[in-house]
Amino acid sequence: MPIFLEKRQLVTPGDLIAEGDYIAGENTYMEKNKIYASRVGIVEYETKKMDVVALKSFYIPRMEDIVIGTITEVGFSGWTVDINSPYPALLRASDVLSRSFRPQKDDLPQVLDVGDLVVAKIVSYDRTHDPQLTVAEPGLGKITRGQILKVTPTKIPRVIGRKGSMISTIKQETGCNIILGVNGVVLITGKTLEDEQLAMMAILKIEAESHTSGLTDRITKMLKEAKIGKEEKKE
């Protein structure tokens, strides 16, 4: 029962990863007791479960995910939200108003209009129904200021880092508040535009170089240098 590839090796679809008593994890599939890769990515495994960390993918909704979306349509009793996924999400008016919706009195475009951004949670989704969102929880709702950034959804875990190490470094060094949508949309709100831009640069660098080693150190170095540069400017 051999494993054919070393850890952190780059694979393309169809590459044989292992044969025998193993479990096909993410971005892999099993056929005739053999595990193959199904996306371009990097092989990761601990003991039995073979994973491929994809280098590029798209977002498929999952319940309980926090996502950032754009309103694309105002309907009769709710909104259609683009959540950077093949499936459009639905947001109900009664959910946003936190009371029952009165068609005669409530003017939906005044609450949320096309182009508005929202932080929301997915409450239901399956193969036959489009995802439904909620904003009736603390921390969710309309976004009023900040910067929006899009990255490949699979890179979000890399931006978070091991036990949140990467994201907390960025937050600390730039003083920005960062919300990571699982759908690959990132919201950065900081005190100044410069802080926000620095955080954006760091996240884009992570996206481009996510499959390389020693990334956390490089990001820390980059952020510290930028900080020093800023202080020199002030003086």
Partner: protein, 249 residues
């Protein structure tokens, strides 16, 4: 170009462009050439120059085409008006519509279409310059574009043709050989699963000839597959090496 060459294979057994019977034309592959598309690839196969772009999975338009249990795969093979000697009308011809279908059907087995119901994958193939064997080159490029877009696939797909020219089985026919030769057998292969997804024959061959043509085409596929993998890797390995240099500094 229009004058017929007297011999397609000379006394030394070499072909019009100096290739041996079992030799491929030079193939160059590149991934991620169209930034607007979700995935893209470019192939130069001899004189063939083909671009492939992939979008999706995305919402289906018009909506009634959506299927409740699987993705709809749409494929458009198109030849640019300047891709051949005589201007080709840009409207889709009978041949292009047929090839679109053939290419779609040879790519579909590799895609996990049942993963994303009610969505659509769009594959666009644009032939910029044609010189025989565009369907095979298109399949090779489109498979790369699909892999580049992050759509889960069972395997990559490579395609290559073999045929009969002046009673000899040869690999990878170019335009003149295709037109003046006796037969053409395009084959598409999923190399790791060892499964054939396209097998056509144009012309006439005996059973033995057919068998050796298929085997020759499969050999050609395997050669192109190595290049295909390399192209996918290059896109990401470059970033890796840049960083290594940084660290060494």
């Amino acid at each position: 170009m229009n004058d017929k060459p007297e011999k397609l294979i000379d006394k030394k057994g070499l072909r019009l462009d100096g290739r041996k019977p079992d030799e491929l034309r030079p193939v160059k592959l590149q991934v991620g050439v169209i930034s607007n598309a979700d995935g893209s690839a470019y192939i130069e196969h001899g004189k063939n120059k083909i671009l492939a772009g992939v979008y999706g999975p995305r919402e289906v338009h018009p909506k009634h085409l959506a299927l409740p249990d699987r993705t709809v795969v749409k494929c458009r093979y198109h030849m640019a008006p300047f891709s051949v000697q005589e201007r080709k009308s840009p409207a889709p011809s009978r041949r292009e519509i047929e090839l679109s279908k053939v290419i779609r059907e040879s790519l579909e087995p590799a895609i996990f279409i049942e993963y994303y119901p009610r969505t659509m994958i769009d594959i666009f193939i644009e032939v910029l310059q044609a010189d025989g064997g565009t369907r095979c080159a298109s399949i090779t490029a489109a498979a790369l574009a699909l892999a580049d877009s992050g759509i889960p696939m069972r395997d990559l797909i490579v395609a290559c043709a073999a045929g009969k020219v002046e009673d000899k089985i040869v690999l990878d026919l170019m335009d003149t050989e295709d037109k003046l030769g006796c037969a053409d057998v395009p084959v598409a292969l999923m190399p790791n699963l060892n499964a054939v997804t396209l097998l056509q024959m144009d012309g006439s061959l005996s059973t033995e000839e057919f068998e050796s043509a298929v085997n020759l085409a499969l050999e050609g596929c395997k050669q192109i597959y190595a290049l295909q993998k390399e192209a996918l890797r290059t896109k990401y390995v470059n970033v890796r090496e840049e960083n290594k240099e940084e660290v060494e500094e």
